[in-house]
């Protein structure tokens, strides 16, 4: 007969049982490699990131010297740094709402089953399978000044062609839209999962009370989906703050540095301007911003672990 068993919550320590002979070795075999890898490739680089940011190359470039907070002081006075921070937040501020709305529309259409739903789910979730470099090339061609479909379409309805990726005003928003597009599948998957958790009975009750689909959306769907929406918005923000591949591939930070976002400046300073330690300080600053957002997300997912 099985004994009545209660699930212990994850924060509570399990009752300790005695080890059998050889079990300590088995346990060590299972635990030690993973922990060692995490210490070496996550903990050590994270600590070292801070340590490096307090140094600077010496004049010969042969070794490094301790400079304390000099890199940070310089960074705070560096207009190029602040331009990259500004570009990053403009970029994120376009990506997040566009991706959220595009994904929500897709999720609303395919959350409930109907004949043919499988095909449309596949199509709406498809961008998940598209690598960043491929998405970038697809949009590079889509926005092409001469052969691009978008410019042809604009011309067909009487508007003029736009130099999407070569104009300092348009390049950053254009990259943001392509990033949002590439994330639609991801967003739609998470929001579909969120929508499917809303009990169908609520909609039935609302229909019986005579509520139309518009009322149902504002009174049931949106309020009940809002925790998921908030979480997904945070995830989008987190990933858009470190978007790199599409920028490297399509604009190389230009034109006129208009798409040199935070992480792109870190990459450039470290590998092209030979300022590895100054780049480290900028990376640490970005790290702290991301950590703050991750901590916010953590509050939500912590709750999900408890009650979800």
């Amino acid at each position: 007969m099985s004994v009545e068993r209660r699930e212990t919550p994850w924060t509570e320590a399990k009752p300790q049982t005695r080890f059998k002979a050889g079990e300590g070795l088995e346990a060590a075999l299972l635990v030690v490699p993973g922990v060692a890898l995490m210490l070496l490739f996550i903990v050590w680089p994270t600590l070292n990131a801070f340590w490096l940011s307090f140094h600077r190359e010496n004049l010969l470039g042969t070794s490094r010297e301790w400079v304390g907070l000099t890199n940070y002081a310089e960074m705070l006075k560096d207009p190029a740094f602040w331009r990259s921070v500004g570009a990053t937040f403009v970029f994120a501020a376009v990506v997040a709402p566009v991706q959220l709305v595009l994904g929500l529309v897709a999720a609303l259409m395919v959350a409930r089953p109907f004949p043919g739903v499988g095909l449309f789910r596949t199509l709406f979730f498809l961008t998940t399978a598209v690598p960043t470099a491929v998405a970038a090339v697809a949009w590079g061609w889509f926005l092409h000044p001469v052969g691009g479909t978008l410019n042809r379409a604009l011309e067909a309805i009487g508007l003029s062609r736009q130099p999407w990726l070569t104009s300092p005003e348009l390049a950053l928003p254009a990259l943001a839209v392509l990033t949002a597009w590439a994330g639609v599948g991801f967003t739609a998957i998470l929001l579909t999962a969120g929508l499917q958790q809303i009990p169908e009975e609520l909609y039935e009750a609302a229909r019986i009370d005579g509520a139309g689909s518009w009322t149902q959306f504002w009174r049931i769907t949106l309020p009940l989906l809002s925790p998921t929406l908030f979480l997904v918005a945070l995830l989008i923000l987190l990933s858009s703050l470190t978007a790199f591949g599409q920028i490297h591939l399509l604009t190389r930070g230009g034109p006129m540095e208009s798409t040199t976002v935070w992480i792109y400046r870190v990459y450039q300073d470290a590998f092209f301007n030979f300022r590895f330690y100054y780049a480290s300080a900028q990376a640490v600053a970005l790290f702290l911003v991301l950590l703050l957002l991750a901590a916010l997300q953590f509050r939500f997912f912590g709750r999900k672990v408890h009650y979800g």
Binding site: A133, G245, L291
Partner: protein, 274 residues
């Protein structure tokens, strides 16, 4: 909102779906169409080529060792996936099923690691990999990423939720932890492993910044970086660039179409963490 007559609502719904799906997929269709256009037809109006040709593919494959780049990416993605599954299953099992001193502290540590934004520690990681002599190798692209806090966390949660009775019975039969992990936990955790595998494969296949800085020998380049390289050289031959991109897209696209539910589950788990 005025409600529509019933006979009209359904066709309109499908029309809306179709238009939305078409617009979302349009940039990809456009790329696909370009990859079958000859040089002469590339800039002619019209989405579809009137005389589809395989020339762009032939040119891309002749001028660039794309097979090698795709193989590199495949080795990296499969290697990373297997490594992540191994580490996540072993450590996840230990955290869920083996009582040892400091277990809850270690689990707390794994959860804290989840918070660390890995994209931003690439500079110190680069120095480390350089000191280890791993630049320009598969090792550099695989080993730093096989201890995945997310994977360990997911597997720990999943194995923890399995019925204790199964493990008790095996224990009475004299099974040790390795056997219980292999014969009980892993078969039952197959859905979680599948989802984690899909998520990891996708992430490794898509890596961009890390291979860009750690690989500079041409024969070790991954497919993503190869796309950037081809795009950089073939400034006007967008059909060749498109053909390259389509070839790089195919593996993940096919994997996605075949194992869609694992990808969806993986993303739902990874995003909402449980």
């Amino acid at each position: 909102m005025v409600s529509l007559p019933h006979w009209l609502a359904r066709p309109l719904f499908y029309l809306g779906l179709g238009v939305y799906a078409f617009l979302l997929v349009l940039p990809l269709l456009n790329l696909f169409a370009a990859s079958f256009k000859s040089d002469g037809e590339l800039f002619a109006p019209g989405l579809w080529p009137t005389h589809p040709t395989l020339e762009p593919y032939q040119e891309a494959l002749q001028k660039y060792p794309l097979a090698r780049y795709l193989l590199n990416s495949l080795v990296v993605a499969v290697g990373t996936t297997l490594g992540v599954l191994l580490v996540s299953a072993t450590l996840g099992y230990a955290l869920a099923r083996i009582p040892f001193a400091g277990q809850s502290a270690l689990f707390g540590f794994v959860v804290a690691m989840l918070l660390i934004p890995g994209e931003v520690t690439f500079l110190p990681l680069y120095l480390l990999v350089q000191q280890l002599g791993w630049l320009n190798s598969y090792t550099a692209l695989i080993v730093p990423f096989i201890a995945s806090p997310l994977g360990i966390f997911l597997l720990r949660q999943f194995i923890k939720s399995l019925p204790q009775d199964l493990f008790d019975a095996a224990r009475i039969d004299g099974a040790g932890h390795l056997r219980m992990l292999w014969h009980i936990a892993l078969p039952l955790a197959a859905p979680a492993l599948g989802a984690l595998a899909a998520l990891t494969f996708l992430g490794a296949w898509n890596m961009y910044l890390w291979p860009l800085v750690t690989i500079n020998r041409s024969e070790m380049m991954t497919a993503q970086i190869a796309v950037a390289q081809v795009q950089n050289v073939e400034v006007t031959s967008w059909n060749v660039v498109a053909a390259t991109a389509i070839l790089v897209l195919l593996p993940t696209l096919i994997a996605f179409l075949l194992a869609q539910r694992f990808f969806i589950r993986g993303i739902a788990l990874g995003g909402l963490k449980g």
